[in-house]
Symmetry: C2
Subunit: 402 residues, 2 copies
């Protein structure tokens, strides 16, 4: 850290004083004593940069509207909790170019500009850390980089969006339809007024972009390459069907190393009871990771919320304060190719009145009859699904995770 | 790392070529290419120190019986997979004193001599790392130290011993008694010929000693202070009773920060269906952590086994190879006091024919009737339990985790 040894405290700035930013100030405040002990120096919030004022906040006196005042100061770490990829992008570049480490919960920015921002950080001998960008408070980015460093990561399957998991859980438990569940989620503060990024799978797409790039050893997988299907078409009838075959419906973000190219997509998925993800309900997130030495591990916790997300951001602040930014976490500049969606071989469940027709039409694929209207077809290529459905007059199909 | 920059490869030695040691050699071998890429240098196993020969192993030519040859060489990292606290202790001290980093899966050694060994490592500017000592392949030590660094850890509840969890799962699922389940576990290689360390809770006691010390900010909590009850007294009747109130029986290792002193113990526990630990079966481990900012997170995976444990050991090897040992992970020299077992306030379920008697006798404690023979008594001090049971003629009692 530049100049760290001359200071009595490590000065930081919080850029954007919304839900997460205020949680960061709060966490640093309530745990000040133990953090100072662990770091060996005090972490001091010197500025809070926001366009608004917060006269009611106990941190009101730290608020400034003047970015120059912040960037020209002696801060060593900037906490970017602005969100989006515009002003957050400009401020992050500016900070990193000055050798100021940046920690963030901004999955949109990391997933779209990660390669460039990590490079700028390395060139300026500082850190760009984003543990909070995936899974809220759940430790996942650092475990992937560090604890599982000796593994080839073969698969990641995650429930990474709390809003959609809450809506799906409500539909299942309360028997209410999608629109009602969405309105309830909005009323309870679990969904935004414009819920598209969540319900259309865009948030999950960004998060699996980040996880996939790390699993793929830094070979960047841009979000706009990743097929994402949301949950707005899911009906209560789908849940009844799922229940009849011992499954639940979850929005799953998937990465597989693949034989040739990686397989990455986001889709509503029938999750079997035997899978631990089956029991992940409400706003909780869980991420299952498979490594070639590790076997399976799962990381579970609160995927969003002020304090859990702040917990992860603050962990990164302590990391940036204590570590030398020596790690080799480069991402390739260009996105690498992934398996085209049509070519992906997937396990699906086809719902049809006459299972025998499906089994005949799916010749060459391994099939398993799950009930008198449900047939599991294994490893079928996506481009072959439409004709299978139309040929057999099947009602519907969905991805399946055992 | 001493002399790292002058070398083309980082030489390491594996001390003890048993289950875990051979898994480490195997993992480093199968993932050689990606590990070299990630570290920037090759990790080269130069010696395998063991009293035996392994003529059938592809690593046979690396085996030596001469410790001096190993310690006088240019190795930078020693992998201690000997086990126990005698020769492993001597070799670990010798390596660390020479500035050779040591990584290990040895929970006995870490829990009994951790304070001294960490101190020697710090004095000699090298690392003593033990991610694999708890939870096998599951990342837990580093997440506690790093990702959750900004939290006060308020509680840890874990299933940390795969052998006992396997035996309990078999008793429940197959309806077999403890002795039969133990014999099956031994036949399947999940329990040792002398199973005492597992079934008497000693292994869990060592692991919760390590986790508690970390959660307690390095204030050392020695294993011999921690009350540990094993599972050999659990009967099939206990499982029927548990099932009747929607619970399963798990061997739980518990840490709570406590108001005055930490609360730490190991005990068979009725785990309610609503708790995620309920679904952790067979040889799997899971550790639930609560932080004051984080809320709850759970870490799940294979708690033992050659390759999963090797995955964690190898993650530490990469850490030792890449990092400067700058971290402040000191443990106090002396064990600090924890709440005496008798004074611990616990939630328990009392099994009695006449619940009303228990409720009357437990006056002053909050009670909840779970069934016509089960009463949950909250926060009762352990020293008051015996008289409650004898006064009311209760059949039995057990700890309870919601």
């Amino acid at each position: 850290m530049k100049g760290k040894e001359q200071q009595m405290a490590i000065n930081i700035a919080i850029l954007g004083f919304g839900t997460v930013g205020s949680g960061v100030a709060e966490t640093l405040d309530i745990n000040k004593e133990l953090i100072t002990k662990r770091v060996g120096e005090e972490i001091n919030v010197k500025y809070i940069l926001d366009i608004r004022d917060f006269p009611e906040s106990k941190f009101a006196n730290l608020v400034t509207h003047n970015a120059d005042e912040v960037f020209d100061s002696d801060i060593l770490i900037a906490v970017e909790t602005i969100g989006g990829a515009r002003i957050a992008y400009e401020y992050t570049k500016r900070a990193l170019s000055l050798g100021i480490s940046v920690v963030t919960s901004n999955k949109e920015l990391v997933s779209t500009h990660g390669p460039e921002l990590i490079k700028i950080a390395q060139e300026n001998n500082c850190c760009y850390l984003f543990e909070a960008a995936v899974g809220g408070g759940i430790p996942i980015i650092r475990p992937l980089y560090k604890c599982l460093a000796a593994n080839k990561i073969t698969k990641i399957a995650g429930i990474v969006n709390g809003t959609t998991n809450y809506i799906l859980s409500q539909m299942k438990d309360e028997g209410i339809d999608f629109d009602t569940a969405l309105k309830q989620a909005q009323a309870n503060g679990f969904a935004e007024a414009n819920p598209s990024a969540d319900i259309d799978g865009i948030d999950a797409q960004r998060k699996i972009s980040i996880l996939s790039t790390i699993a793929n050893d830094g070979a960047y997988i841009a979000p706009d390459q990743i097929s994402a299907e949301g949950i707005s078409a899911i009906t209560n009838d789908d849940f009844e069907f799922a229940s009849s075959i011992g499954c639940d419906i979850k929005l799953i973000a998937l990465y597989e190393a693949g034989e040739d190219k990686p397989v990455v997509y986001v889709a509503p998925t029938l999750v079997a009871k035997s899978n631990l993800l089956f029991n992940v309900s409400g706003v909780f997130n869980a991420i299952m990771v498979e490594g070639n030495s590790l076997g399976q591990a799962m990381f579970y916790g609160q995927g969003a919320g002020t304090l859990p997300t702040a917990s992860a951001v603050c962990g990164d602040i302590l990391e940036a304060a204590m570590s030398n930014p020596t790690e080799n976490r480069t991402w390739t500049e260009e996105s690498v190719a992934i398996t085209p969606y049509d070519e992906i071989a997937a396990d699906i469940v086809v719902r049809a009145d006459v299972p025998a027709k499906v089994i005949t039409a799916a010749e060459g694929y391994e099939c398993e009859v799950l009930s008198d209207e449900a047939i599991l077809v294994k490893g079928i290529r996506h481009k072959d699904i439409a004709s299978l459905v139309s040929e057999t007059g099947a009602k519907s199909w969905m991805h399946y995770l055992k």
